[in-house]
Symmetry: C2
Subunit: 204 residues, 2 copies
DNA sequence: CTCCAACTCTACACAACGTCGATTTTTTTC
DNA sequence: GAAAAAAATCGACGTTGTGTAGAGTTGGAG
């Protein structure tokens, strides 16, 4: 595996391999959309990136590693965008903002996120990545619930447990909707937002 | 190619093959728990059932077919039990009863149901089976919501769409909880019940 | 007994994975 | 700007797991 040392000097020395690596990940994302994880072979991946199978194994140890790297890249992008959103806001607004952001993310990276979810059971690394991401959402939802007056605490009817269930609801609902269309995603978002608000006691 | 399950049900006596078939499915369920779908090979399956790979292919055309049959068997059992539960009841009671039944199902068949969910994307037959099952739940939830006063209709904030989201919430929450323990399942159930009731406007 | 269907096995062909060592290309160093 | 080092590429190989083919075995009905 090539070392990933960041900026060394004023001259950004981008190796040829870095290009290839990105090409492989891009190909992977494309293929995931076109044929899905199972049908995608290492040969396809290599061909898409313009190299042979042998060469691909210089960059990644396995098909799983490629996908893991792709998930990592996507998830990182996701974190960045999440950080950007202000959290200290009136609860109702916060919910709306969060849902809009979520729609954007799924619109953009639906297939990769679906794959990540599918593989998080069988590929421990991806499971790690995804559960970490989920935790971020869960703590965010928890914060909103508590600010809206839901009691904090470890019991099943208190904020953290509810946030967890709501997170899974959103994940799963978007998972399905993103297979259909952008419109479905919007509707799904409205529904989830409504349930979230109701659970928080913010009924209109 | 030998004809498959079409005319078998008419037989009076139980053939040796029916035993084998069941043995294969039982083995499949065991292996699913022990090693998971990917790690389970057709050889393992055959060995567990006391036959060779070749013989197994007499009964099932592929590994996927075996799992599909197992899912079908499990799901059928699930339908039977669901039918048994009375539907015409006071909403609050209906919710509690439904959740208790769901806990039982996951306690009993957690691994198979998790596998069904995982494969419903890649194996169309399983997807069919599972989405049909989900529809049963969704209509049941819809009925409860409407009886509790939630408006009927196709809009994202009306009963059917909400029922769908709640169904996915329950599915996903139980999916995760059933990997942990029976206790987690119970807690998950309480949380889901609470959110369901709140969404229905049945706040205590 | 014999015949047919149900059942079982071994052997084979194939596809995809991951490894290896040799070789070529790119980058660094002097 | 050439030699040395590192990075990148290739093609061939061994392995594993899948699904198929065809031959052989059992057991019950006529």
């Amino acid at each position: 595996m090539p070392a990933h040392h960041s900026a060394r000097s004023r001259r950004a020395t981008e190796r040829k391999g870095d290009l290839r690596e990105r090409a492989i990940l891009d190909t992977c994302e494309t293929l995931l959309v076109q044929k899905g994880y199972d049908a995608m072979t290492v040969g396809d991946l290599a061909q898409g990136a313009g190299i042979t199978r042998g060469a691909l194994y210089f960059y990644f140890g396995s098909k799983q590693e490629v996908v893991t790297a792709l998930v990592a890249r996507t998830v990182e992008h996701l974190w960045e965008r999440s950080r950007a959103t202000a959290e200290a806001d009136e609860p109702r607004r916060a919910v709306t903002a969060a849902m809009r952001r979520t729609v954007e993310l799924w619109d953009e990276h639906g297939p990769v996120m679906r794959t990540a979810i599918d593989l998080s059971l069988t590929v421990p690394e991806i499971g790690e990545l995804w559960s970490h991401t989920a935790d971020l959402f869960i703590t965010a939802i928890t914060a909103v619930l508590e600010r809206a007056g839901v009691q904090a605490g470890p019991e099943p009817e208190q904020a953290p447990a509810m946030a967890r269930a709501l997170c899974w609801m959103i994940e799963r609902t978007f998972y399905h909707a993103s297979q259909e269309s952008h419109e479905e995603l919007q509707k799904a978002s409205s529904t989830c937002e409504h349930i979230w608000l109701t659970s928080a006691g913010l009924t209109a």
